[in-house]
Amino acid sequence: MLCERCKIREANIQYTEVINGVRTEHNFCAQCAKEMDFGPYSAIFDSDFPLGKLLSGLLGVGESQEHEKTHQVVCPTCGTSYEEFIKNSRFGCADCYGVFDILISDNIKQLQGNDTHKGKEPRYHIPRAGDHFSAEALSGEPGTGQTGEEDQVLSGERLRILEARLKEAIAKEEYEAAAGYRDQIRSLRKEQETG
């Protein structure tokens, strides 16, 4: 198939766009694709990118899809990946320390000049000590308009789940499913903006 733009070179890039559920397919050659404005994704045409990366770029996942072994370590409790930890240098929960322990102990030593705690230890360890302090006891004062807030939390949560599924689908090269997730994400984002 010839490139639909220059009609000279062979088309080797297929670009599918779904806007409001209407699917349009385009076939371009690499050179035309590079010249066209794909917004934030233009950069990916600058050199020969692997297909997976190209798609992830078009699907709005960003270019962080590196599948090296260490980058796959994810804290089961809070979902923080090693990659995220490195990027933000921030732990997501107490369990992250155990999960990333081997990977970070050298860095910790470099950062802190030491890797073992020496100071105070908690004098009390009463498991579930704070359980009887309920949130309800203080509610009613601030935080009006609760329901709207909860809605937002829910759609935020859904967005996170969808993004995770999208990444997974791309990793497994299930592109059709990925496109579906992408559309769902787009409409959810739109909802959030307007709603």
Partner: protein, 343 residues
């Protein structure tokens, strides 16, 4: 009275001391991983558990959710060192428990679940750590902490893990910081594990010549060792400052005195003052008072004035928003009314 209104005459040059401890409740993920709903729930439970804090140390506490405070109030509290920039601008549900004197505060769901902070005038780290230790136990009796034998208190940022403690002192170093050797001295302190930073900016931009000395590391040192280290470095810098100043006074006493009086004159009579000018003159006035070159009828809390002329705190005195020019006028008028008369 607020803590910064007292004048510590024993340690001229040592403006304030601070001890901060960060802790996390082991029942929740760290703040960045909590949903709005979880965060709100946790802040409420923490506030409920700590609602009798006053009966523990006899102080009067105010409890507030961050979203109940206006942006101006948050900025003003940031200038008065109760919030850091993350909390002041954060959108997460967060809470603050603040003593009337503003010397004790607990921030909930900032970068960590619990951030205990104690402030005092002068050089006072040891006493602050003792206070902080007890307050920490009080909180710990109600909420069990995320703790690990090897990594100590577990915190969001690896730069706080271990003791979760930052001990810091603010010093006034107008003479020492003008010398060429100062940059070398600062990096020298780094080798001992202490950081020295300008409070109101870096290098020559640091108007007011206030510097903060703090421990760099939080893991592998005991709290006592941290307090000793920061205290030692602070004393070292203060000693050097005194020596340089003594030399200047010996050779140029009249110039020093002239400078102090001129600064007082400008502060007392100017009709508009930029933050930069006001800080520079207040710094010179502070030196003059400490050296006994000029005397005010009542003690002059220069540090309180330095906090008072910051934009948000100044703005709070006015009943409407002020532009930059108006702020300069308000600053001059604030200083005119607050500066005590000379003897």
């Amino acid at each position: 009275m607020k803590w910064f209104e007292y004048v510590d005459q024993e340690h001229p040059g040592a403006i304030s001391s601070r001890v901060r401890l960060v802790r996390n409740w082991d029942q929740y993920a760290f703040p960045s991983r909590l949903t709005q709903k979880e965060g709100l729930e946790m802040v409420r439970r923490l506030e409920q558990g700590l609602k009798d804090l006053g009966s523990f140390d006899g102080k009067q506490y105010e409890y507030a959710f961050l979203d109940e405070l206006s942006e101006l109030d948050r900025k003003a509290l940031r200038e008065r060192r109760i919030f850091n920039s993350t909390i002041a601008s954060g959108k997460r549900p967060a809470g603050v428990i603040l003593s009337q004197e503003e010397d004790t505060s607990i921030v909930l769901n900032g970068t960590d679940h619990i951030r205990i902070q104690l402030l005092s005038p002068g050089l006072n780290l040891e006493a602050l750590w003792k206070q902080g230790d007890k307050l920490d136990d009080y909180v710990n009796q109600r909420f069990s902490y995320a703790f690990d034998k090897k990594y100590g208190y577990l915190t969001s940022f690896p730069t706080n893990m271990g003791t979760g403690m930052r001990a810091s002192v603010v010093l006034h170093l107008p003479n020492l910081s003008m010398g060429k050797k100062f940059t070398g001295l600062v990096s020298e302190m780094g080798r001992f594990g202490a950081s020295v930073k300008g409070v109101y900016g870096e290098g020559s931009e640091n108007y007011g010549a206030l510097f903060q000395v703090a421990n760099q590391k939080t893991l592998g040192l005991t709290e006592k060792e941290i307090v000793d280290l920061v205290g030692r470095v602070a004393n070292q810098l203060l000693n050097q400052e005194r020596q340089v100043r003594a030399m200047a006074l010996k050779k140029h006493r009249l110039e020093c005195q002239d400078e102090a009086y001129k600064s007082y004159g400008v502060l007392k009579y100017a009709r508009r003052l930029s933050a930069r000018d006001a800080m520079t003159f207040l710094s010179q006035l502070m030196s003059g008072i400490n050296d006994g070159l000029l005397e005010t009828k009542e003690p002059c809390p220069v540090y309180r004035l330095m906090l008072g002329i910051q934009p948000a705190n100044l703005q709070k005195l006015s009943d409407r928003p002020l532009g930059k020019e108006e702020l300069d006028v308000a600053r001059a008028s604030y200083l005119r009314s607050e500066l005590p008369d000379l003897v």
